[in-house]
């Protein structure tokens, strides 16, 4: 590879030199692009081309390995009018609303409390631990925890003389149960991010605040929160992007059921692409998901940034 680059160097150099570009500028560009080449190659093949291709496919009708034909934008109204897509989008947003505020507030709460706790590293590692297991594998463990007959969760309810629940079988409960799994798995991630952010708030600021009468809750609300707002924004955006594409847990736990109550957008996409072989519809779902993700994260950035800058 290096030999090829060396061979290519001379003709490229002379071609640009004839147009009056400085030799040092040309060779600096060549070196920079040589360093970029491997990353850029994969970036183009597996990022740029797929995104453009997805959009292209959304304008087609046909299957994955069948011929497709151009039909313009008419997949978009078809998908948007499809009640299954609406339910899937609603489920996805509901799921995000159940998960994100819970992990963000509980994560921040635990991080603040950690200051007062001994064995900080142990506790931090313990809550981070679920994040180490793959979602698909955590879901397998979780399906046993919520098993209606043998699962410990229902056993505990019985001990407390509460009615046992059919966690994943009840259409009302299935989505919150799947959300619970995500909360359990991603809480520790947020805790660690917030602990690091809190550690960077200088102690003097709190001392100065105390002189102005800021204690406890008011110190937290008026000093801590504004200072770590960029980190809160980061975790919010990350959690939004991540939860809008939730799929693994649904695949393992419920396959979208019961009665479509846990079908998410990516589940619907997967079903259309790889089960029903409707590639144009699936690509349209992908583009709509991308648009929703972009709009939501842009709103979050706008709202939180403008508040930071007063």
């Amino acid at each position: 590879m290096y030999a090829i680059l060396k061979k290519m160097r001379a003709p490229i150099l002379s071609a640009f030199e004839r147009r009056g570009v400085k030799r040092s500028t040309i060779s600096r560009n060549l070196v920079a692009y040589a360093f970029l080449a491997p990353s850029l190659a994969f970036f183009v093949v597996f990022m740029i081309i797929p995104v453009i291709w997805t959009f292209g496919l959304s304008l087609q009708e046909g299957g994955l390995l069948r011929a497709t034909s151009f039909i313009g934008l008419s997949n978009y109204p078809t998908v948007i009018r499809d009640p299954r897509f609406r339910i899937a989008m609603l489920n996805t947003l509901l799921y995000a609303v159940m998960v994100i505020p819970a992990v963000l507030t509980m994560g921040l709460f635990l991080a603040v409390l950690l200051r007062q706790v001994v064995f900080k590293t142990f506790f931090k590692s313990a809550v981070f631990f679920p994040h180490l297991s793959a979602m698909a594998i955590a879901a397998v463990v979780f399906s046993y925890m919520v098993h209606p007959e043998f699962g410990p969760l229902n056993q505990m309810l019985r001990l407390l003389h509460l009615p046992a629940q059919n966690w994943l079988g009840d259409p009302q409960l299935a989505l919150p149960t799947v959300a619970l799994l995500e909360i359990w798995r991603s809480l520790g991630f947020n805790v660690i991010v917030y602990v690091a952010a809190l550690g960077r708030v200088p102690e003097e600021i709190y001392e100065a605040g105390r002189l102005d009468g800021a204690h406890g809750w008011s110190a937290f609300w008026h000093i801590t929160v504004p200072l770590i707002k960029p980190v809160i924004l980061f975790t919010l955006v990350m959690a939004t992007v991540w939860n809008l594409q939730m799929f693994d847990s649904v695949f393992v736990l419920t396959r979208g059921g019961p009665v479509y109550s846990t079908a998410t957008v990516v589940w619907f996409l997967y079903d259309n692409a790889f089960y029903y072989d409707k590639v144009g519809i699936a690509a349209t779902i992908a583009i709509l998901l991308l648009l929703v993700t972009l709009v939501l994260t842009l709103i979050q950035v706008r709202v939180l940034r403008s508040e930071v800058e007063y």
Partner: protein, 280 residues
């Protein structure tokens, strides 16, 4: 408030903080404990009511079943090969690209950086159909390469590297050039040794992300010989509906490599998360 009152309330707050954290830690760890204890139960005691919190007659039969009854070690080897190959390649490629962004002025730099930045929000699910088609055209469908090459496109590491390399003094590189180093030699001798901790962090995180990946193997592979652990265990749940002990044994074994990595490199895990959040 009297000072003794304040001390009492401070103590109370500390006790409360410990109580809350203990509950959080128990909730976080309990499923793993229960999975482990179930993996030691024989088929009879898995279904006793009330359940045994400690297996009364622990057995390794489930582990024997998992390791002997299916190519489990093959799945684990596949996962290890995929995750570590991606990690190594990513560390090399991303540090090279990060170096280019941090230390060179070149044509199209700003636009390229903006394009790369904007793709961070694009999840794999959005690209999965063309990725499937590209993988088929490259002739790597249902091979481990189909799991190794697509993740190399995700550009998070380039940013991490660019940020760090930008903080290194450029004089070192100039001096190495004066000494007659080749351009790659300059990178190898004046940049790589100084960014080792960041390289380790990126490697570990890439490993973790690939180790836990599910959608990609689900779409790109179907033969048992290239199956990875996440997929194998998800399938196992369907096949062994009633043998929870075996499923939990398989689950617990799948956790071991990542657990070892976590114990050995805990600092890098914590740092890695922090890096992305605070610098990014």
């Amino acid at each position: 408030m009297t000072s003794s009152g304040r001390v009492t309330s401070y103590r109370l707050a500390r006790v409360l903080a410990h109580a809350i954290w203990i509950v959080a830690a128990v909730i976080a760890l309990f499923p793993f404990y229960f999975a482990f204890s179930t993996s030691l139960k024989n088929t009879h005691s898995q279904f006793t009511y009330p359940p045994e919190w400690f297996p009364s007659s622990p057995t390794l039969a489930n582990y024997q079943y998992v390791l002997g009854g299916m190519p489990y070690l093959r799945y684990m080897a596949n996962s290890l090969v995929v995750a570590s190959t991606v990690a190594v390649l990513k560390v090399i490629f991303d540090s090279m690209a990060g170096y280019a962004f941090a230390k060179f002025r070149f044509f199209g730099k700003k636009i390229l950086f903006a394009v790369i930045l904007s793709t961070l929000m694009i999840p794999l699910a959005v690209r999965i159909i063309p990725t499937f088609l590209i993988v088929r055209r490259l002739g790597i469908f249902d091979t481990l390469w189909a799991l190794i090459l697509p993740p190399l496109a995700y550009p998070m590491g380039i940013f991490m590297m660019a940020q760090f390399i930008a903080t290194l003094p450029s004089e070192l590189q100039d001096a190495a050039r004066v000494d007659g180093c080749s351009e790659f030699g300059v990178f190898r001798h004046t940049v790589l040794p100084l960014i080792k901790p960041v390289l380790a962090t990126l490697a570990i995180f890439t490993f973790l992300w690939q180790w836990t990946e599910f959608l990609l193997p689900l779409i790109m592979t179907y033969s048992p010989k290239v199956m990875v652990l996440t997929l194998a265990i998800a399938n196992l749940k369907g096949q062994l509906l009633t043998n929870w002990g075996a499923v939990m044994a398989a689950t617990f074994l799948a956790l071991l490599p990542i657990l070892a990595l976590f114990v050995l490199f805990q600092r890098y895990f914590i740092e890695g998360i922090t890096l992305g959040a605070i610098k990014g």
